[in-house]
Assembly symmetry: C2
Homo-oligomer: 305 residues x 2
Protein backbone atom coordinates (compact mmCIF):
# COMPACT_ATOMS: atom_id res chain seq x y z
CA UNK A 1 0.00 0.00 0.00
CA UNK A 2 2.63 2.48 1.09
CA UNK A 3 5.95 1.90 -0.58
CA UNK A 4 7.77 4.73 1.08
CA UNK A 5 8.89 3.81 4.55
CA UNK A 6 9.25 6.73 6.93
CA UNK A 7 12.48 5.67 8.59
CA UNK A 8 14.09 5.04 5.24
CA UNK A 9 12.85 8.38 3.97
CA UNK A 10 14.35 10.17 6.93
CA UNK A 11 17.71 8.57 6.27
CA UNK A 12 17.54 9.51 2.63
CA UNK A 13 16.48 13.05 3.35
CA UNK A 14 19.16 13.71 5.93
CA UNK A 15 21.82 12.12 3.77
CA UNK A 16 20.87 14.49 0.95
CA UNK A 17 20.88 17.49 3.25
CA UNK A 18 24.17 16.62 4.86
CA UNK A 19 25.74 15.59 1.60
CA UNK A 20 27.28 12.46 2.98
CA UNK A 21 26.13 9.28 4.61
CA UNK A 22 28.60 9.55 7.44
CA UNK A 23 27.52 13.00 8.60
CA UNK A 24 23.93 11.92 8.26
CA UNK A 25 24.69 8.97 10.50
CA UNK A 26 26.11 11.33 13.09
CA UNK A 27 23.09 13.58 12.99
CA UNK A 28 20.73 10.65 13.30
CA UNK A 29 22.87 8.93 15.89
CA UNK A 30 23.27 5.67 14.03
CA UNK A 31 25.98 3.88 12.13
CA UNK A 32 26.78 4.75 8.51
CA UNK A 33 26.01 1.19 7.55
CA UNK A 34 22.45 1.65 8.74
CA UNK A 35 21.92 4.71 6.59
CA UNK A 36 23.49 2.99 3.63
CA UNK A 37 21.28 -0.04 4.00
CA UNK A 38 18.11 1.97 4.56
CA UNK A 39 18.65 4.06 1.47
CA UNK A 40 19.42 0.97 -0.52
CA UNK A 41 16.25 -0.65 0.74
CA UNK A 42 14.28 2.42 -0.25
CA UNK A 43 15.83 2.33 -3.69
CA UNK A 44 14.92 -1.32 -4.01
CA UNK A 45 11.33 -0.81 -2.97
CA UNK A 46 10.97 2.10 -5.37
CA UNK A 47 12.93 0.37 -8.08
CA UNK A 48 14.93 3.51 -8.73
CA UNK A 49 18.36 4.81 -7.85
CA UNK A 50 17.98 7.78 -5.55
CA UNK A 51 21.52 8.93 -4.84
CA UNK A 52 24.80 8.95 -6.64
CA UNK A 53 27.57 7.65 -4.45
CA UNK A 54 30.58 9.79 -5.06
CA UNK A 55 34.09 10.35 -3.88
CA UNK A 56 33.21 12.91 -1.29
CA UNK A 57 29.68 12.13 -0.33
CA UNK A 58 26.35 11.52 -1.97
CA UNK A 59 24.00 13.61 -4.04
CA UNK A 60 20.47 12.91 -5.17
CA UNK A 61 19.85 11.63 -8.66
CA UNK A 62 17.05 13.08 -10.67
CA UNK A 63 14.61 10.61 -9.15
CA UNK A 64 16.09 11.47 -5.77
CA UNK A 65 15.43 15.13 -6.32
CA UNK A 66 11.84 14.44 -7.18
CA UNK A 67 11.44 12.26 -4.11
CA UNK A 68 13.03 14.95 -2.02
CA UNK A 69 10.59 17.63 -3.02
CA UNK A 70 7.79 15.12 -2.53
CA UNK A 71 8.97 14.33 0.97
CA UNK A 72 9.43 17.98 1.84
CA UNK A 73 5.94 18.67 0.70
CA UNK A 74 4.59 15.74 2.63
CA UNK A 75 6.46 16.85 5.71
CA UNK A 76 4.83 20.25 5.70
CA UNK A 77 1.45 18.65 5.17
CA UNK A 78 2.10 16.41 8.12
CA UNK A 79 2.85 19.41 10.26
CA UNK A 80 -0.49 20.96 9.48
CA UNK A 81 -2.08 17.62 10.26
CA UNK A 82 -0.35 17.47 13.63
CA UNK A 83 -1.37 21.01 14.43
CA UNK A 84 -4.93 20.03 13.67
CA UNK A 85 -4.58 17.21 16.16
CA UNK A 86 -3.17 19.65 18.67
CA UNK A 87 -6.18 21.84 18.12
CA UNK A 88 -8.43 18.87 18.74
CA UNK A 89 -6.60 17.92 21.91
CA UNK A 90 -6.37 21.49 23.12
CA UNK A 91 -10.12 21.82 22.75
CA UNK A 92 -9.67 24.49 20.16
CA UNK A 93 -11.79 22.65 17.69
CA UNK A 94 -13.86 19.54 17.39
CA UNK A 95 -17.22 18.24 16.39
CA UNK A 96 -19.92 17.40 18.86
CA UNK A 97 -22.72 15.12 17.82
CA UNK A 98 -25.64 15.67 20.15
CA UNK A 99 -29.15 14.31 20.08
CA UNK A 100 -31.66 16.30 22.09
CA UNK A 101 -35.27 15.79 22.90
CA UNK A 102 -37.43 18.43 21.30
CA UNK A 103 -38.18 19.94 24.67
CA UNK A 104 -34.52 20.61 25.33
CA UNK A 105 -33.79 22.51 22.17
CA UNK A 106 -34.15 26.08 23.29
CA UNK A 107 -32.71 25.33 26.71
CA UNK A 108 -29.71 23.60 25.18
CA UNK A 109 -29.05 26.12 22.45
CA UNK A 110 -29.78 29.13 24.64
CA UNK A 111 -27.78 28.04 27.67
CA UNK A 112 -25.42 25.08 27.31
CA UNK A 113 -24.30 25.78 23.78
CA UNK A 114 -23.90 29.47 24.42
CA UNK A 115 -21.66 29.06 27.45
CA UNK A 116 -19.74 26.23 25.81
CA UNK A 117 -19.13 28.26 22.73
CA UNK A 118 -17.72 31.04 24.88
CA UNK A 119 -15.33 28.62 26.60
CA UNK A 120 -14.37 26.63 23.52
CA UNK A 121 -14.88 28.49 20.30
CA UNK A 122 -14.12 26.56 17.19
CA UNK A 123 -16.35 23.61 17.92
CA UNK A 124 -19.01 22.58 15.47
CA UNK A 125 -22.21 20.76 16.28
CA UNK A 126 -24.22 18.05 14.71
CA UNK A 127 -27.54 18.46 16.40
CA UNK A 128 -30.28 15.91 16.02
CA UNK A 129 -33.63 16.48 17.63
CA UNK A 130 -36.55 14.21 18.10
CA UNK A 131 -38.50 12.13 20.54
CA UNK A 132 -36.98 10.42 23.54
CA UNK A 133 -37.01 7.18 21.62
CA UNK A 134 -35.22 8.75 18.66
CA UNK A 135 -32.63 10.31 20.93
CA UNK A 136 -31.95 7.01 22.64
CA UNK A 137 -31.65 5.31 19.29
CA UNK A 138 -29.20 7.90 18.03
CA UNK A 139 -27.01 7.38 21.08
CA UNK A 140 -27.28 3.61 20.95
CA UNK A 141 -26.18 3.53 17.33
CA UNK A 142 -23.44 6.10 17.84
CA UNK A 143 -25.09 8.64 15.63
CA UNK A 144 -24.70 10.97 18.59
CA UNK A 145 -22.10 11.16 21.30
CA UNK A 146 -24.54 12.54 23.82
CA UNK A 147 -28.24 12.42 24.31
CA UNK A 148 -30.61 14.70 26.22
CA UNK A 149 -34.05 13.34 26.75
CA UNK A 150 -36.96 13.28 29.09
CA UNK A 151 -38.04 10.14 30.84
CA UNK A 152 -35.49 7.94 29.19
CA UNK A 153 -35.92 4.57 30.86
CA UNK A 154 -32.96 2.70 32.17
CA UNK A 155 -31.35 0.30 29.81
CA UNK A 156 -28.08 -1.58 29.81
CA UNK A 157 -26.66 0.05 26.73
CA UNK A 158 -27.10 3.56 28.11
CA UNK A 159 -24.95 5.22 30.72
CA UNK A 160 -26.61 8.18 32.40
CA UNK A 161 -24.28 11.07 33.08
CA UNK A 162 -26.75 13.32 34.86
CA UNK A 163 -30.35 13.02 35.83
CA UNK A 164 -32.63 15.59 37.38
CA UNK A 165 -36.26 15.21 38.43
CA UNK A 166 -38.54 17.35 36.35
CA UNK A 167 -42.19 16.73 37.22
CA UNK A 168 -44.82 17.24 34.61
CA UNK A 169 -46.96 20.29 35.15
CA UNK A 170 -50.20 21.37 33.71
CA UNK A 171 -49.69 24.23 31.30
CA UNK A 172 -52.45 26.71 30.75
CA UNK A 173 -52.90 30.13 29.25
CA UNK A 174 -53.16 32.78 31.99
CA UNK A 175 -55.98 34.39 30.09
CA UNK A 176 -57.95 31.19 29.65
CA UNK A 177 -60.79 29.77 31.65
CA UNK A 178 -58.39 27.24 33.20
CA UNK A 179 -56.12 29.90 34.69
CA UNK A 180 -57.85 29.84 38.02
CA UNK A 181 -57.86 26.11 38.60
CA UNK A 182 -56.74 25.42 42.14
CA UNK A 183 -53.49 23.56 42.62
CA UNK A 184 -52.67 20.77 42.72
CA UNK A 185 -54.73 19.52 39.84
CA UNK A 186 -55.95 15.97 40.21
CA UNK A 187 -56.23 13.29 37.57
CA UNK A 188 -59.99 13.55 37.75
CA UNK A 189 -59.87 17.26 36.92
CA UNK A 190 -57.33 16.64 34.23
CA UNK A 191 -59.59 14.12 32.56
CA UNK A 192 -62.18 16.81 31.92
CA UNK A 193 -59.88 19.33 30.29
CA UNK A 194 -59.39 19.65 26.53
CA UNK A 195 -55.74 18.93 25.92
CA UNK A 196 -52.96 18.63 23.38
CA UNK A 197 -50.58 15.81 24.13
CA UNK A 198 -47.38 14.37 22.78
CA UNK A 199 -47.57 11.08 20.98
CA UNK A 200 -45.96 8.01 22.41
CA UNK A 201 -42.28 7.67 21.77
CA UNK A 202 -41.90 10.93 23.59
CA UNK A 203 -41.09 10.62 27.29
CA UNK A 204 -44.00 12.82 28.21
CA UNK A 205 -46.44 10.93 26.05
CA UNK A 206 -45.38 7.61 27.48
CA UNK A 207 -45.67 8.87 31.05
CA UNK A 208 -49.16 10.11 30.44
CA UNK A 209 -50.14 6.81 28.90
CA UNK A 210 -48.84 5.04 32.00
CA UNK A 211 -50.75 7.39 34.29
CA UNK A 212 -53.91 6.90 32.26
CA UNK A 213 -53.57 3.17 32.67
CA UNK A 214 -52.87 3.42 36.39
CA UNK A 215 -55.93 5.55 36.98
CA UNK A 216 -58.13 3.83 34.48
CA UNK A 217 -58.96 7.04 32.65
CA UNK A 218 -58.33 8.61 29.26
CA UNK A 219 -57.59 12.28 28.87
CA UNK A 220 -59.59 14.31 26.36
CA UNK A 221 -56.83 14.84 23.90
CA UNK A 222 -58.02 17.06 21.12
CA UNK A 223 -54.63 16.85 19.58
CA UNK A 224 -51.92 14.22 19.58
CA UNK A 225 -48.81 15.66 18.04
CA UNK A 226 -45.12 15.04 17.66
CA UNK A 227 -44.43 18.74 17.81
CA UNK A 228 -43.99 20.78 20.93
CA UNK A 229 -44.62 23.90 18.93
CA UNK A 230 -48.13 22.59 18.30
CA UNK A 231 -48.68 22.08 22.03
CA UNK A 232 -47.39 25.52 22.93
CA UNK A 233 -49.51 27.26 20.36
CA UNK A 234 -52.50 25.23 21.43
CA UNK A 235 -52.12 26.45 24.99
CA UNK A 236 -51.26 30.04 24.15
CA UNK A 237 -54.31 30.32 21.94
CA UNK A 238 -56.47 29.24 24.84
CA UNK A 239 -57.73 26.13 23.07
CA UNK A 240 -56.94 23.95 26.05
CA UNK A 241 -54.18 22.66 28.26
CA UNK A 242 -51.20 20.43 27.96
CA UNK A 243 -48.90 18.47 30.23
CA UNK A 244 -45.20 19.13 30.03
CA UNK A 245 -42.23 19.69 32.29
CA UNK A 246 -41.85 23.38 33.08
CA UNK A 247 -38.41 23.78 31.56
CA UNK A 248 -39.86 23.22 28.11
CA UNK A 249 -41.72 26.49 28.33
CA UNK A 250 -39.32 28.59 30.37
CA UNK A 251 -39.61 31.47 28.01
CA UNK A 252 -43.38 31.39 27.79
CA UNK A 253 -43.53 31.37 31.59
CA UNK A 254 -41.13 34.30 31.73
CA UNK A 255 -43.09 36.45 29.32
CA UNK A 256 -46.38 35.44 30.87
CA UNK A 257 -47.99 33.69 27.95
CA UNK A 258 -48.14 30.34 29.70
CA UNK A 259 -48.64 29.44 33.36
CA UNK A 260 -47.92 26.21 35.18
CA UNK A 261 -50.00 24.35 37.68
CA UNK A 262 -48.82 21.47 39.88
CA UNK A 263 -50.38 18.12 39.32
CA UNK A 264 -51.44 15.80 42.09
CA UNK A 265 -50.61 12.72 40.05
CA UNK A 266 -47.60 10.77 41.40
CA UNK A 267 -47.03 8.97 38.09
CA UNK A 268 -46.64 12.32 36.37
CA UNK A 269 -44.16 13.63 38.92
CA UNK A 270 -41.54 10.94 38.50
CA UNK A 271 -40.21 12.22 35.21
CA UNK A 272 -36.54 12.97 34.85
CA UNK A 273 -34.46 14.91 32.43
CA UNK A 274 -31.29 13.01 31.68
CA UNK A 275 -28.03 13.33 29.86
CA UNK A 276 -26.62 10.06 28.68
CA UNK A 277 -24.10 8.33 26.47
CA UNK A 278 -23.72 4.85 25.11
CA UNK A 279 -22.38 2.51 27.71
CA UNK A 280 -18.74 1.64 27.08
CA UNK A 281 -18.15 4.31 24.50
CA UNK A 282 -14.94 6.24 24.88
CA UNK A 283 -15.84 9.84 24.33
CA UNK A 284 -13.85 12.79 23.00
CA UNK A 285 -12.87 15.12 25.77
CA UNK A 286 -14.98 17.88 24.29
CA UNK A 287 -18.08 15.84 25.02
CA UNK A 288 -17.12 15.24 28.63
CA UNK A 289 -16.62 18.93 29.11
CA UNK A 290 -19.92 19.66 27.46
CA UNK A 291 -21.71 17.57 30.08
CA UNK A 292 -20.36 19.94 32.74
CA UNK A 293 -21.74 22.92 30.89
CA UNK A 294 -25.07 21.19 30.43
CA UNK A 295 -25.50 20.37 34.11
CA UNK A 296 -24.38 23.81 35.19
CA UNK A 297 -26.17 26.05 32.74
CA UNK A 298 -29.29 24.34 31.52
CA UNK A 299 -32.56 24.99 33.29
CA UNK A 300 -33.59 21.39 32.83
CA UNK A 301 -30.67 20.17 34.91
CA UNK A 302 -30.03 23.04 37.27
CA UNK A 303 -33.40 23.12 38.94
CA UNK A 304 -34.16 20.08 40.91
CA UNK A 305 -37.89 19.63 40.66
Amino acid sequence: MFKIDTVQSASFLVACEEGSIRSASERLGVEPSTISRQIKALETSLGTALIERGRKGVRPTEAGTILRTYLKHQQSEQETLLSEFDALKGMRRGELMIAVGDGFISDFVGNAMTSYKAAFPGFTYDLLSGSTEQVLHAVRTDRAHLGLAYNAGKERAIRTAAQVKQPLDLLVSPTSEWADLSEPVTMAQLETLPSALLKSGFGVGDMIAVAEGAHGVRLRALVHSNSLAVLRSFVREGLGVTVLPAFVVTREIADGTIATKRLAVPELRKGEASVFTRYGRRLPEGVTRLVDHITRSMVAFRNAG
Copy 2:
Protein backbone atom coordinates in the same frame (compact mmCIF):
# COMPACT_ATOMS: atom_id res chain seq x y z
CA MET B 1 11.00 13.73 11.68
CA PHE B 2 8.18 11.58 10.37
CA LYS B 3 5.72 10.61 13.04
CA ILE B 4 3.43 8.64 10.82
CA ASP B 5 4.74 5.16 10.18
CA THR B 6 3.63 3.60 6.94
CA VAL B 7 2.95 0.11 8.23
CA GLN B 8 0.92 1.49 11.09
CA SER B 9 -0.96 3.75 8.72
CA ALA B 10 -1.83 0.83 6.49
CA SER B 11 -3.24 -1.10 9.45
CA PHE B 12 -5.25 1.89 10.53
CA LEU B 13 -6.56 2.56 7.06
CA VAL B 14 -7.62 -1.00 6.38
CA ALA B 15 -9.20 -1.31 9.80
CA CYS B 16 -11.30 1.77 9.07
CA GLU B 17 -12.29 0.49 5.65
CA GLU B 18 -13.16 -2.99 6.84
CA GLY B 19 -14.86 -1.71 9.94
CA SER B 20 -13.24 -4.22 12.23
CA ILE B 21 -9.78 -5.16 13.31
CA ARG B 22 -10.34 -8.83 12.68
CA SER B 23 -11.40 -8.47 9.05
CA ALA B 24 -8.55 -6.07 8.52
CA SER B 25 -6.19 -8.69 9.90
CA GLU B 26 -7.53 -11.20 7.39
CA ARG B 27 -7.10 -8.82 4.50
CA LEU B 28 -3.58 -7.99 5.54
CA GLY B 29 -2.74 -11.57 6.38
CA VAL B 30 -1.68 -10.94 9.96
CA GLU B 31 -3.05 -11.52 13.42
CA PRO B 32 -5.63 -9.19 14.95
CA SER B 33 -3.24 -8.53 17.77
CA THR B 34 -0.77 -7.05 15.32
CA ILE B 35 -3.31 -4.63 13.93
CA SER B 36 -4.43 -3.68 17.39
CA ARG B 37 -0.91 -2.99 18.53
CA GLN B 38 0.04 -1.06 15.42
CA ILE B 39 -2.95 1.21 15.66
CA LYS B 40 -2.27 1.72 19.33
CA ALA B 41 1.34 2.59 18.56
CA LEU B 42 0.19 5.07 15.94
CA GLU B 43 -2.18 6.64 18.43
CA THR B 44 0.62 6.91 20.95
CA SER B 45 3.03 8.51 18.54
CA LEU B 46 0.39 10.99 17.43
CA GLY B 47 -0.89 11.50 20.94
CA THR B 48 -4.47 11.18 19.75
CA ALA B 49 -7.13 8.51 19.75
CA LEU B 50 -7.84 7.47 16.19
CA ILE B 51 -10.54 4.82 16.45
CA GLU B 52 -13.39 4.05 18.74
CA ARG B 53 -13.39 0.44 19.76
CA GLY B 54 -16.94 -0.74 19.74
CA ARG B 55 -19.06 -3.85 20.19
CA LYS B 56 -19.11 -4.77 16.53
CA GLY B 57 -15.95 -3.32 15.17
CA VAL B 58 -14.11 -0.06 15.06
CA ARG B 59 -14.80 3.33 13.57
CA PRO B 60 -12.59 6.35 13.20
CA THR B 61 -12.82 9.17 15.70
CA GLU B 62 -12.81 12.71 14.46
CA ALA B 63 -9.02 12.76 14.52
CA GLY B 64 -9.10 9.40 12.76
CA THR B 65 -11.28 10.81 10.02
CA ILE B 66 -8.89 13.66 9.49
CA LEU B 67 -5.95 11.27 9.38
CA ARG B 68 -7.84 9.09 6.95
CA THR B 69 -8.41 11.83 4.43
CA TYR B 70 -4.81 12.88 4.88
CA LEU B 71 -3.57 9.38 4.17
CA LYS B 72 -5.85 8.99 1.19
CA HIS B 73 -4.55 12.20 -0.22
CA GLN B 74 -0.98 11.18 0.43
CA GLN B 75 -1.62 7.84 -1.20
CA SER B 76 -2.76 9.42 -4.42
CA GLU B 77 0.22 11.75 -4.38
CA GLN B 78 2.47 8.77 -3.94
CA GLU B 79 0.95 7.16 -6.97
CA THR B 80 1.77 10.12 -9.14
CA LEU B 81 5.27 10.05 -7.70
CA LEU B 82 5.68 6.40 -8.58
CA SER B 83 4.40 6.99 -12.08
CA GLU B 84 6.99 9.71 -12.46
CA PHE B 85 9.62 7.19 -11.45
CA ASP B 86 8.22 4.79 -13.99
CA ALA B 87 8.52 7.44 -16.63
CA LEU B 88 12.12 7.99 -15.66
CA LYS B 89 12.90 4.31 -15.76
CA GLY B 90 10.99 3.73 -18.97
CA MET B 91 13.07 6.42 -20.63
CA ARG B 92 9.98 8.47 -21.19
CA ARG B 93 11.47 11.44 -19.45
CA GLY B 94 14.69 12.56 -17.86
CA GLU B 95 17.24 15.28 -17.85
CA LEU B 96 20.55 15.02 -19.62
CA MET B 97 23.37 17.29 -18.60
CA ILE B 98 25.86 17.45 -21.45
CA ALA B 99 28.94 19.56 -21.91
CA VAL B 100 30.09 19.91 -25.50
CA GLY B 101 33.07 21.52 -27.08
CA ASP B 102 32.07 24.46 -29.23
CA GLY B 103 32.99 22.60 -32.36
CA PHE B 104 30.50 19.85 -31.60
CA ILE B 105 27.47 22.05 -31.13
CA SER B 106 25.88 21.91 -34.56
CA ASP B 107 26.88 18.28 -35.05
CA PHE B 108 25.44 17.31 -31.68
CA VAL B 109 22.25 19.31 -31.93
CA GLY B 110 21.72 18.50 -35.59
CA ASN B 111 22.40 14.79 -35.42
CA ALA B 112 22.66 13.16 -31.99
CA MET B 113 20.01 15.23 -30.28
CA THR B 114 17.64 14.99 -33.21
CA SER B 115 17.75 11.21 -33.43
CA TYR B 116 17.67 10.84 -29.66
CA LYS B 117 14.66 13.07 -29.38
CA ALA B 118 12.90 10.91 -31.93
CA ALA B 119 13.66 7.76 -29.95
CA PHE B 120 13.02 9.19 -26.50
CA PRO B 121 10.80 12.22 -26.49
CA GLY B 122 10.25 13.82 -23.14
CA PHE B 123 13.88 14.30 -22.27
CA THR B 124 15.21 17.71 -21.43
CA TYR B 125 18.76 18.89 -21.87
CA ASP B 126 21.14 21.01 -19.91
CA LEU B 127 23.70 21.90 -22.52
CA LEU B 128 26.94 23.58 -21.59
CA SER B 129 29.37 24.57 -24.28
CA GLY B 130 32.93 25.78 -24.07
CA SER B 131 36.51 24.88 -24.58
CA THR B 132 37.92 21.39 -24.13
CA GLU B 133 39.20 22.42 -20.74
CA GLN B 134 35.82 23.75 -19.68
CA VAL B 135 34.10 20.60 -20.85
CA LEU B 136 36.52 18.43 -18.91
CA HIS B 137 36.00 20.52 -15.83
CA ALA B 138 32.24 20.28 -16.09
CA VAL B 139 32.46 16.50 -16.27
CA ARG B 140 35.01 16.26 -13.47
CA THR B 141 32.85 18.30 -11.15
CA ASP B 142 29.65 16.50 -12.13
CA ARG B 143 28.13 19.57 -13.67
CA ALA B 144 27.64 17.40 -16.72
CA HIS B 145 26.98 13.70 -17.11
CA LEU B 146 28.71 13.54 -20.43
CA GLY B 147 31.36 15.52 -22.21
CA LEU B 148 32.21 15.88 -25.90
CA ALA B 149 35.51 17.47 -26.63
CA TYR B 150 38.38 17.55 -29.05
CA ASN B 151 41.84 16.47 -28.02
CA ALA B 152 40.94 15.82 -24.43
CA GLY B 153 44.11 14.38 -22.94
CA LYS B 154 43.97 11.22 -20.89
CA GLU B 155 43.50 11.67 -17.20
CA ARG B 156 42.61 9.35 -14.38
CA ALA B 157 39.37 10.99 -13.45
CA ILE B 158 37.95 10.69 -16.95
CA ARG B 159 36.62 7.58 -18.57
CA THR B 160 36.48 7.74 -22.34
CA ALA B 161 33.40 6.13 -23.84
CA ALA B 162 34.27 6.69 -27.50
CA GLN B 163 37.17 8.20 -29.32
CA VAL B 164 37.61 8.81 -33.03
CA LYS B 165 40.60 10.28 -34.85
CA GLN B 166 39.80 13.60 -36.41
CA PRO B 167 42.90 15.15 -38.00
CA LEU B 168 43.17 18.88 -38.22
CA ASP B 169 42.78 20.23 -41.71
CA LEU B 170 43.56 23.54 -43.22
CA LEU B 171 40.39 25.45 -43.96
CA VAL B 172 40.32 27.93 -46.76
CA SER B 173 37.76 29.83 -48.77
CA PRO B 174 37.35 28.25 -52.25
CA THR B 175 37.32 31.73 -53.75
CA SER B 176 40.47 32.87 -51.97
CA GLU B 177 44.05 32.96 -53.15
CA TRP B 178 44.79 29.89 -50.98
CA ALA B 179 42.26 27.69 -52.71
CA ASP B 180 44.78 26.24 -55.09
CA LEU B 181 47.45 25.29 -52.57
CA SER B 182 48.65 21.80 -53.31
CA GLU B 183 47.99 19.08 -50.74
CA PRO B 184 49.31 18.14 -48.34
CA VAL B 185 50.23 21.49 -46.87
CA THR B 186 53.46 21.50 -44.92
CA MET B 187 54.28 23.31 -41.71
CA ALA B 188 56.58 25.60 -43.64
CA GLN B 189 53.76 26.66 -45.94
CA LEU B 190 51.40 27.00 -43.04
CA GLU B 191 53.79 29.36 -41.33
CA THR B 192 53.45 31.88 -44.16
CA LEU B 193 49.65 32.00 -44.19
CA PRO B 194 47.58 34.59 -42.34
CA SER B 195 45.43 32.63 -39.90
CA ALA B 196 42.78 32.78 -37.20
CA LEU B 197 43.38 30.29 -34.42
CA LEU B 198 41.69 29.10 -31.27
CA LYS B 199 43.17 30.15 -27.98
CA SER B 200 44.76 27.62 -25.69
CA GLY B 201 42.34 25.76 -23.51
CA PHE B 202 40.75 24.54 -26.70
CA GLY B 203 41.99 21.19 -27.93
CA VAL B 204 42.79 22.63 -31.34
CA GLY B 205 44.66 25.56 -29.90
CA ASP B 206 46.77 23.36 -27.67
CA MET B 207 47.63 20.99 -30.52
CA ILE B 208 48.79 23.84 -32.70
CA ALA B 209 50.92 25.18 -29.86
CA VAL B 210 52.52 21.75 -29.52
CA ALA B 211 53.19 21.55 -33.26
CA GLU B 212 54.68 25.03 -33.26
CA GLY B 213 57.03 23.99 -30.52
CA ALA B 214 57.99 20.77 -32.25
CA HIS B 215 58.83 22.53 -35.51
CA GLY B 216 60.27 25.61 -33.89
CA VAL B 217 57.95 27.93 -35.78
CA ARG B 218 55.13 30.31 -34.96
CA LEU B 219 52.13 30.66 -37.21
CA ARG B 220 51.05 34.10 -38.36
CA ALA B 221 47.90 34.31 -36.30
CA LEU B 222 46.07 37.49 -37.12
CA VAL B 223 43.37 36.48 -34.71
CA HIS B 224 43.34 34.38 -31.55
CA SER B 225 39.76 33.80 -30.50
CA ASN B 226 37.66 31.65 -28.26
CA SER B 227 34.88 31.62 -30.81
CA LEU B 228 34.58 29.25 -33.71
CA ALA B 229 32.15 31.60 -35.34
CA VAL B 230 34.97 34.12 -35.57
CA LEU B 231 37.22 31.58 -37.28
CA ARG B 232 34.55 30.52 -39.73
CA SER B 233 33.71 34.07 -40.72
CA PHE B 234 37.38 34.87 -41.01
CA VAL B 235 37.85 32.08 -43.53
CA ARG B 236 34.61 32.67 -45.42
CA GLU B 237 35.46 36.34 -45.87
CA GLY B 238 38.77 35.32 -47.44
CA LEU B 239 40.84 37.05 -44.78
CA GLY B 240 42.99 33.98 -44.29
CA VAL B 241 42.99 30.37 -43.21
CA THR B 242 42.38 28.41 -40.08
CA VAL B 243 43.13 24.97 -38.73
CA LEU B 244 40.25 22.85 -37.52
CA PRO B 245 38.94 19.33 -37.79
CA ALA B 246 36.65 19.01 -40.77
CA PHE B 247 33.55 18.01 -38.80
CA VAL B 248 33.39 21.48 -37.32
CA VAL B 249 32.57 22.94 -40.70
CA THR B 250 30.52 20.15 -42.22
CA ARG B 251 27.84 22.54 -43.36
CA GLU B 252 30.23 25.07 -44.86
CA ILE B 253 31.93 22.28 -46.76
CA ALA B 254 28.58 21.04 -48.00
CA ASP B 255 27.41 24.41 -49.26
CA GLY B 256 30.81 25.18 -50.72
CA THR B 257 31.76 28.20 -48.65
CA ILE B 258 34.77 26.50 -47.08
CA ALA B 259 37.18 23.90 -48.45
CA THR B 260 39.59 21.61 -46.61
CA LYS B 261 43.18 20.78 -47.36
CA ARG B 262 45.19 17.98 -45.80
CA LEU B 263 48.12 18.95 -43.64
CA ALA B 264 51.48 17.19 -43.74
CA VAL B 265 52.09 17.80 -40.07
CA PRO B 266 51.97 14.62 -37.97
CA GLU B 267 51.37 16.49 -34.72
CA LEU B 268 48.24 18.03 -36.23
CA ARG B 269 46.87 14.69 -37.39
CA LYS B 270 46.76 12.99 -34.01
CA GLY B 271 43.71 14.83 -32.73
CA GLU B 272 40.73 12.86 -31.51
CA ALA B 273 37.12 13.65 -30.84
CA SER B 274 36.03 11.94 -27.65
CA VAL B 275 32.97 11.29 -25.55
CA PHE B 276 33.68 10.84 -21.90
CA THR B 277 32.25 10.68 -18.41
CA ARG B 278 33.71 11.00 -14.95
CA TYR B 279 35.44 7.86 -13.89
CA GLY B 280 33.43 5.89 -11.38
CA ARG B 281 30.23 7.84 -11.83
CA ARG B 282 27.11 5.77 -12.07
CA LEU B 283 25.11 7.25 -14.91
CA PRO B 284 21.39 7.38 -15.60
CA GLU B 285 20.42 4.97 -18.32
CA GLY B 286 19.39 7.81 -20.56
CA VAL B 287 22.98 8.96 -20.73
CA THR B 288 24.27 5.54 -21.68
CA ARG B 289 21.77 5.35 -24.47
CA LEU B 290 22.70 8.80 -25.61
CA VAL B 291 26.29 7.67 -26.13
CA ASP B 292 25.02 5.13 -28.66
CA HIS B 293 23.21 7.81 -30.56
CA ILE B 294 26.25 10.03 -30.47
CA THR B 295 28.60 7.43 -31.89
CA ARG B 296 26.14 6.34 -34.51
CA SER B 297 24.77 9.64 -35.73
CA MET B 298 27.38 12.32 -35.21
CA VAL B 299 29.78 13.16 -38.02
CA ALA B 300 32.57 13.68 -35.53
CA PHE B 301 32.35 10.07 -34.37
CA ARG B 302 31.06 8.27 -37.42
CA ASN B 303 33.87 9.17 -39.79
CA ALA B 304 37.18 7.75 -38.84
CA GLY B 305 39.73 10.23 -40.07
